[in-house]
């Protein structure tokens, strides 16, 4: 099996790997939509969706009822509805861009996956090799560059809808994303200053960041969230804004803009926006996990290599790879839960508050944080 895979053409290998990752991302997106409904329900003291069931699953004694109570089949019902309902195209829209917008939303959401490492294994020499579709050196820069293209889909959707509320939603989306992109990028600069010690080949790769967090010793094994809590806070806040999650849901703002940029959308095209939003959330959580939560290392000060030695998996690259992917996915899902948890806790900001927080609070804080760490790192790494 492994030999057969390895003798395939690299392009075919790449396609297979890409397909496998997409096959994981899509169900996670669907599960997230369900989890969102369940978490919101539980926080509000409701049981949440728990009725839909496929008859032959209902025959399984305990598991069937459990799955029903968990609302698994509502995901299928939702998906089926979105696929098969009439896809109405309003008469007053600019048809080409109207159809283009949801497609443009999906492309950056799925493209950024390629540069995110999601696991690791040990080779014969005992070195940790990250698992990624493309473990490129520009890593984070590529993610920032591609994921910020996602705003074009919102602007396109808002403009092509040719009506007031979607247009306002699109304008707000662009303003919000540009404001928070700045502090987001500035907040991770100290981290890469710290990672790229003098005398090493410089890199922006996320694999290297995780490797840095799995060194032995007290400072070596410390995750970046402990070393740079301010950076982590700014990055997380900007991440909420970048993924258009509450409390920063300016592009959508159901309360004042009907549905924001997607007011005129329905059926499958709306579903694409929806999946793209969740895919952004997954990627954002993955990047946060890699940068600040130690990636695939199980615990702070316990690296994957240590754990492999304990459970005797060091010479089993496939099993260790699966284990590391499991640890990583667990952290990502915990982050996604945190996203939902915050959504049902913090009231949403007004548009002017969003701008004020972005420009007058977070940006100066990010710059001060960068300066402080730059000076500190210059002294330490002298």
């Amino acid at each position: 099996m492994v030999e057969f895979y390895l003798q395939l053409h690299p392009v075919v290998q790449g396609l297979l790997k890409g397909l496998a990752v997409i096959l994981v991302i899509f169900p996670i997106g669907g599960a997230c939509s369900m989890a969102e409904r369940k978490v919101s329900a539980w926080i509000q003291g409701r049981p949440g969706p728990n009725r839909a069931i496929v008859p032959w699953v209902a025959w399984i004694p305990f598991l069937g009822t459990f799955l029903q109570r968990l609302g698994i089949f509502h995901v299928m019902a939702d998906g089926g509805k979105m696929l098969f309902k009439e896809d109405a195209l309003p008469g007053h829209v600019n048809k080409f861009y109207f159809i283009l917008a949801p497609i443009v939303a999906m492309i950056p959401a799925l493209t950024t996956v390629t540069t995110v490492p999601f696991g690791a294994y040990l080779d014969e020499a005992g070195r940790v090799i990250p698992l990624a579709l493309a473990n490129v050196d520009i890593g984070l820069l590529a993610i920032f560059a591609v994921s910020s293209l996602g705003v074009y889909s919102l602007i396109l959707a808002g403009w092509a809808s040719n009506s007031k509320y979607p247009f306002l939603g699109g304008v707000r989306a662009s303003a919000q994303l540009i404001s928070y992109e700045l502090s987001m990028t500035l907040s991770v600069v100290p981290l890469f200053l710290w990672v790229n010690e003098p005398g090493r080949e410089a890199t922006l790769g996320l694999g290297r960041v995780v490797e840095f967090q799995s060194q032995p010793g007290f400072m070596g094994g410390m995750w970046f969230i402990f070393i740079m809590p301010v950076s982590a806070f700014i990055f997380l806040t900007s991440l909420f804004a970048e993924t258009n999650r509450q409390p920063f849901d300016m592009p959508e703002s159901e309360s004042d803009l009907v549905g924001g940029f997607h007011t005129e959308y329905g059926a499958f095209k709306w579903g694409l926006f929806f999946v793209a939003e969740y895919a952004h959330m997954v990627i954002g959580s993955a990047v946060f996990t890699l940068l600040f939560l130690g990636g695939w290392n199980p615990l702070p000060w316990v690296s994957l290599a240590d754990m492999a030695a304990w459970v005797h998996l060091a010479d089993q690259p496939i099993l260790l790879g699966v284990l590391s992917i499991g640890i990583f996915l667990g952290k990502v899902l915990a982050m996604i839960f945190f996203f939902m948890w915050v959504r049902w806790t913090v009231p949403r900001f007004r548009y002017d508050q969003v701008m004020e927080i972005g420009w007058k609070k977070l940006l100066p804080l990010a710059i001060a944080n960068l300066l402080a760490y730059a000076i500190g790192i210059a002294i330490i790494q002298k």
Binding site: I43, G45, P47, N50, F233, W341, W344, T345, V346
Partner: protein
Amino acid sequence: MAVIPLERKPLTLIERTYVPQIVAGLKTTFQHLLRPKETLEYPEQRPAIPAGYRGVPTLVKDPHGREKCVSCQLCEFVCPPKAIRITPGEIAPGAPTSHVEKAPQEFEIDMLRCIYCGMCQEVCPEEAIFLQNQFSMTGYTREEMVNNKARLYELGGTLPDQHHKWDKKKTAEEHGNDRH
């Protein structure tokens, strides 16, 4: 009345970052996440109906199984949305309840008009119509939503009766005191 001026303290720096408040809020919502659920899962779990609840209006029988309504039509006249229609009828002379004055031939309550005000129950001199505990009326057609006499008795059932007014009247009549 004494005016107590409250000093409004300026927010400290840590409070102005909102972070402690957000953390406190997260704690609260997490406690709610683990708490038992507040809602009833309706068709299986039903709410406890308080005494004096005004549900669907129904016709009731007395403990001997006699229909209590004498079709006086007071409820029909008092009904604010005019939901009640009564067709008065006679009781056959040989029937065991022939001592009762009258009985409705047909009794209809249009549940699409009914406003559950309870005036019919209040006005009824025979204590024959009661708003009972059923709160959910559904149907696919307008006709289904009109409760006829048979359905009203089916919904109402039998309720205890303290007076047995017509039985007393009959006994009095038999003892030669018909003006009792």
